[in-house]
Symmetry: C2
């Protein structure tokens, strides 16, 4: 499958790109607002993967619109405050492409990190509102610590909860998620259940801050 990672130059996008390239045969396309930045990062990822024995992996780096146009699945791996603009910019390229939204809205105060729930109900719902009508939107990868995800030497042993109203698109994303070693995909139901998933991310950060020896946390449901 051809997967475009918009905002694939850092944070969660970097980790997903490296993990899929390392663990699967999917074709990875890095998207950015600037083509040169995307190309540089793609080359950097190729070098890292080659050092791990993947000499044959080719990763393209393109401006977001071109990355989206080539993909079967588009992951909008950008911060919540860039999400709507990013989707608007690639909307003409989406059609029935599955759009994956991993973004979470958070704010920090003196007590800790808190979920900043948008009026739409969730950040995932914001993505659905911004996407074209025939583009199925799936929420996934909200609760993965970017640092550990991007460190290919680190084991994950995490769950990711997948929500969406289009069953086929959700199944596709579950399969993509489970292609990553150590990641289990769980069905969270319809898109309307996204807020509680997004709210777990600030909790993971708060727990990591207050407990020695715990950092870059994910979660396992058991």
């Amino acid at each position: 499958m051809d997967i475009a990672l918009l905002g694939g130059t850092g944070d969660i996008g970097q980790g997903l790109a490296l993990r899929w390239a390392d663990d699967t045969n999917h074709t990875i396309i890095i998207g950015s607002r600037k083509a040169q930045k995307a190309a540089n990062k793609a080359e950097e990822y190729e070098t890292e993967l080659a050092s791990r024995g993947h000499d044959d992996v080719s990763i393209a780096g393109l401006v977001n619109e071109d990355a989206a146009a080539r993909a079967d699945v588009v992951v909008a791996a950008v911060p919540a405050y860039h999400l709507t603009d990013t989707i608007d910019a690639v909307a003409d390229e989406l059609d029935d492409t599955t759009l994956v939204a991993p973004a979470v809205g958070m704010q920090r105060d003196e007590d800790g990190f808190h979920y900043n729930r948008p009026g739409a109900g969730s950040v995932t719902q914001l993505a659905a509102n911004a996407a074209p009508d025939d583009t199925p939107v799936v929420g996934a990868f909200h609760n993965l610590a970017a640092g550990r995800l991007a460190n290919l030497d680190a084991d994950l042993n995490w769950d990711t909860i997948v929500v969406g109203d289009d069953t086929d698109a959700k199944d596709t994303v579950c399969e993509l998620a489970e292609g990553i070693e150590g990641l289990r995909a769980l069905d969270g139901g319809p898109l309307a259940n996204a807020a509680e998933i997004e709210g777990l991310t600030p909790l993971l950060i708060n727990v990591a801050r207050h407990n020695d020896g715990l950092h870059d946390l994910g979660v396992r449901f058991q």
Copy 2:
């Protein structure tokens, strides 16, 4: 330590009572609005514990006020909509007794279960607002599935996140939590961080509903 479980006749209160009695030497006092109901349940728990070799365990069953008066730690194991009334009823007995709030506010619609965040910020904060000024309030045990907790044959392997503004009270509750086999206490920071913990409970239910083979879920941070 003497632990009173207000609302210890069912749900999470039953599980905590049985687990503490089974795994520790703490004295357990069951509280209820009706003394006879508390006494009946206490006897039922004693019978179950005796069948597991604890012939020496004595559990008292009292009206909530009398249970609170005897305790070093009071757990308000009642549903969110009974929480304020329950704390009001025992307020004169609390003084500097540590009060533990495990309640979560949820509502259900056609999509699933959702966190029903009160205007106070969290249900745990509601408990703190209802408690006397000199009573330290600690949030804990929000994310434990009652059915599995009360089944002493079931392994837990769960985390519980503990929040509060009084460090000593929080340490006490962490120790009580870790006295239960298979339960790890994690520090979630101050009481203001409770909402994200409470929001995890409807997520656990949604995941259990949508995934075959998963039920009575708890969570592990790793």
